[in-house]
Symmetry: C2
Subunit: 449 residues, 2 copies
């Protein structure tokens, strides 16, 4: 099976990146240029984004190369000059990268990542950077909403089977963890990222035995600790009684039932009656885990309703960002050897110059952000864009995933309360331009007009 690898990922780009690069090469246009990667307008279902995917983007830039196979394929297209292909064969990324750290909140128009490099290098990495950073940012942002909805309840990423492909599954597990998930069902994500892995059982397991009691008994004996039984294969309340029966029967053997999971039906009603069944069986410590097409809205509704649930398995909606499955990310030339650049297409304007983003806080929460030019006096607040790569080499140690998750928890706690609402109608967070940036925009608009 063909997978994307460090060796072929250089071709995971739009053809036009390479034709433009060839033209720049033919005309010796390879001076330093700066491109900003940002989301112009947040989807109406989102009041904030959580930066994610930077680590993978830097890995990609670090290892960028066109191997013999890539060059041979490009030659076979019959549109590239040999001189350009030789140039590509020697190409490495040598530029500077600044980024907003993973786990930090970002808003409309703020550069999440900014690349300054020789024009050709900066151009050909566009497609991959957008693909990588927008996807992971989108999933971390969705998971952060789930985290807000779940309050102090734990939630686990169950999305792998519904994710859009294999590495979407791997990276959705990481991004969900960044957003607040405590674990994932995805074993490879456990292996690769060190995320705790977690799981229960499937209906097919229960169906493989003559009856539910036998299935529960076997599974609990095989996994006597931290085990969650799935109780909705046949009838949920009957399943709860059987789980309780088996838990009490096996207690003397040292077996502890950790929880039961309900994956279908009217979750609110069923959870209440299962809680009662478990409590009456003396199993007040046994937790109830809910799953089955949950998202932040359903979780919020269950908790507002006082449903006695302890944890959630969240799959499809989180792993695909189901209500907003793409982000309109842009990667735009903002400055080159001739100075700042601006684009005026209808609805797709870009802001010129190398920038810095400042976050200004009030007493207990963020108040507003300011996008300023890099070379102007800081308007106050905390600068969010950090230099992460210089001359093609990483210049900061990677944060641990646990540290990134903590950063996200912290940024969520500092969001103004209205932005923590899951409602679509929340006010937009104020992102201002510094007077100097605003002046530059006006001047360039009037020159172009």
């Amino acid at each position: 099976m063909t997978w994307v690898t460090d060796d072929n990922v250089s071709l995971l780009t739009d053809l036009y990146e390479l034709t433009m690069a060839a033209s720049y090469h033919a005309h010796d246009m390879n001076d330093q240029a700066t491109f900003d990667l940002f989301v112009r307008h947040l989807p109406k279902q989102r009041h904030f984004l959580i930066s994610c995917g930077i680590e993978h983007a830097l890995d990609y830039l670090d290892r960028l190369h066109f191997d013999n196979d890539a060059i041979a394929y490009l030659r076979s297209l019959g549109i590239f000059e040999d001189g350009f292909l030789e140039f590509l064969a020697d190409l490495e990324f040598t530029g500077e990268v600044r980024a907003i750290p993973e786990g930090e909140a970002v808003f409309d128009g703020e550069p999440i990542l900014s690349v300054t490099a020789p024009l050709i290098e900066a151009q050909i990495v566009e497609t991959f950077l957008l693909n990588c950073i927008m996807f992971e940012t989108m999933i971390a942002s969705k998971a952060a909403r789930v985290s807000i909805a779940a309050q102090d309840r734990r939630f686990v990423d169950f999305s792998l089977r519904r994710d859009q492909g294999a590495d979407a599954g791997l990276r959705a597990a990481r991004a969900s963890f960044v957003g607040g998930a405590v674990a994932t069902s995805n074993v490879l994500a456990g292996r690769v990222f060190g995320i705790p892995v977690n799981g229960t059982m499937a209906h097919s397991y229960v169906m493989a035995f003559e009856d539910e009691v036998k299935a529960f008994r076997y599974f609990l004996r095989d996994f006597p600790q931290d085990t969650v039984l799935l109780i909705d294969t046949f009838d949920v309340e009957e399943g709860a009684r059987r789980a309780a029966q088996v838990a009490n029967e096996l207690g003397p053997e040292g077996v502890t039932l950790s929880g039961v999971r309900i994956d279908s039906g009217d979750l609110a009603t069923l959870t209440r009656s299962v809680r009662k069944i478990l409590d009456e069986a003396g199993l007040g410590e046994v937790k109830i885990v809910l799953s089955g097409d949950l998202d932040e809205h359903r979780i919020e509704a269950l908790l507002v309703d006082g449903v006695p649930v302890d944890a959630f398995g969240v799959g499809t909606q989180m792993g695909t960002s189901g209500d907003a499955p793409s982000l309109g990310g842009a990667y735009k030339l903002v400055e080159d050897a001739h100075g700042p650049k601006i684009k005026l297409s209808t609805g797709k304007a870009t802001f010129p110059g190398r920038k810095q983003v400042y976050r200004v806080s009030g007493d207990h929460s963020y108040d507003h952000d300011v996008i300023a030019l890099e070379d102007e006096a800081p308007p106050g607040g905390v600068a969010l864009l950090h230099q992460v790569m210089v001359e093609g080499e990483r210049c900061r140690e990677s944060d641990s995933l646990a540290a990134i998750q903590r950063r996200c928890r912290n940024t969520l706690s500092l969001l103004p309360e209205r932005l923590r609402s899951l409602d679509q109608s929340a006010e937009v967070y104020p992102v201002r331009h510094s007077p100097k940036l605003e002046g530059l925009i006006r001047r360039m608009q009037s020159e172009a007009g």
Copy 2:
């Protein structure tokens, strides 16, 4: 950067697949079992699906193995017995697979793929098979709708930058081609799948020159054939006049402008006025390509409105199946050594037994499908499930991608007209149960009840 590979993909599974497998192993429960993979209910925005992803699923099954690293990681979790880990280290897929060929239409509840294998093998492949087949089927189905909307116009996959991760990009290009795209912007998909690659230029290219005329002149000289110029960086109509000017200026050098692309603004109005500008410049052959968040509905509206567009670049909405970004695929135990199996959970019932799907046609189009038990007399029509793997080995040569695309075109032409509507309210295609299957379901329901 960590990628999914043939060596680690065995861990790309939910932990519960492995805990269930360990329990089956502990109790010598490894008789043959049959699991069906199907979509219980189509999203309301879909009247048909196009089978896709089978090829990759078979590749995965063909190569399934747990390498030393995988075993070491599983051992580190401290929940698996050594005997099970030794068993896993030797595990290969030895089962039978039947599937509906890629490119063929499929409907609610029809097994797209059916696996018969020793229970443990059949169980642990669940997560990957769902991830792989549902994603590719979802994208091929969306692309097929775009194909219906585009009528005889060509459309190209531009989705890579918005796809949900790297191999989503690679496989979305293939699935879009199956559904009817003529090319992709994704160079790696060209390299790997042999799909024609295609591209224009970005706004940043135009902005890298002092003016648009110079950008157009350079690019056309560098790529004198089959070149499409992007004309909306500043003003679309001005851009069209400049493109025409440069095309006419360079004509004597043997340069031919193939088309212009408009990526923003009021596409209907702009296309009409650009057509006029080009025609008046004697460039009636120059095509107009539209892009910018297009989907089947916007394409249909443009064509119904008589907009003189020649081709489309379709990105985000096709590559993420934006209006229905997940399919509720299920992979369910339907038969084991004890006979047919049934699941009764609310809203998640499954149908028992090894099945065959028959498609019955009327004079000009499909009339209805029948899901029957495999061992009953065929009810007429064409049998859709083909044996593709026996004893873990592929038993059919893979279809070429061109043949799969033709199969899809053919199946779309045979869909009842109402199913080709993009409207949500189309009637559902009739999928019947054979009397013998229906009898089995009733008997098992009453036994369980």
